[in-house]
């Protein structure tokens, strides 16, 4: 299940919902990404996130389908926030239920790495002195390519 939303999310509630994925689930891996005070710029005060409605959901559906074909994925949950976010706010949540930990870890990391380089989201850093659209990092592309 995929949610693109401006509102915050509750990781504890998401975890409880993932626990309801059936008696075959033996492992849950979750990841949360937060707004940090430095990125391309230092003294970042917040972020603005934009996306391409429709395409975003379609791309993430495809990533979940790929993860499900490569690993045991009983349920996957992805939440990504858009709009204006302050320091330390939650940006993204990925949760995966599997029979075993190795599949849960791998699928969770794959989804996060692939999302960063293929889902149409763009981040803008906001500082006291101005705004800056974040540049895609070669290291992120390398991490995503490593799953191919």
């Amino acid at each position: 299940m995929i949610s693109i939303q401006t509102e915050d999310f509750d990781p504890a509630a998401e975890y409880q919902r993932l626990r309801d994925s059936g008696a075959g689930t033996g492992a849950i891996a979750t990841f949360a990404g937060l707004v940090r005070d430095s990125g391309d710029l230092s003294d970042v005060e917040g972020l603005y996130l934009e996306h391409y409605p429709g395409m975003t959901e379609q791309v993430i559906e495809g990533l979940i389908a790929e993860a499900s074909s490569r690993w045991d994925v009983r349920r996957a949950r992805i939440i990504h926030r858009v709009g204006r976010l302050a320091l330390q706010e939650q940006i993204v949540f990925v949760g995966v239920c599997s029979a075993h930990r190795s599949d849960a870890f791998a699928a969770c990391q794959f989804l996060m790495d692939a999302l960063k380089t293929s889902a149409p989201f763009w981040k803008k850093e906001i500082t006291a002195s101005g705004e800056h659209w974040v540049e895609q990092k070669n290291s992120d592309v390398a991490r995503s390519d490593a799953w191919k």
């Binding site: 990404g33 395409m55 149409p120 763009w122 659209w133």
Partner: protein, 86 residues
């Protein structure tokens, strides 16, 4: 949008620098996304970056596409910078 046009959308830094969220162009036989970028770049100013060194990502009907992808009447073409979510 009418049946014989193509919708062009811009996102993020491109949307801001071009000061354009969306425009429509007439459809033509054999038109590619690369040809659209080349003709838009001829507008000069910020538009020249569509043919510049910074990569421009392309989607046709919300699926990633290439410069050689053909575009037909009714299609939605999007141009945007490399993505930076997560």
């Amino acid at each position: 949008m009418t049946a014989d046009t193509i919708t062009i959308r811009f996102f993020a830094r491109l949307r801001e620098e071009l000061n354009t969220e969306q425009l429509t162009l007439p459809a033509q036989p054999g038109l590619t996304t690369g040809a659209i970028l080349a003709s838009l770049a001829e507008r000069g100013g910020a538009w020249t970056q569509l043919q510049g060194e910074q990569p421009v990502m392309i989607a046709v009907n919300q699926t990633m596409a290439k410069l050689s992808t053909e575009v037909r009447a009714g299609d939605e073409v999007a141009f945007f910078p490399p993505v930076t979510g997560g």
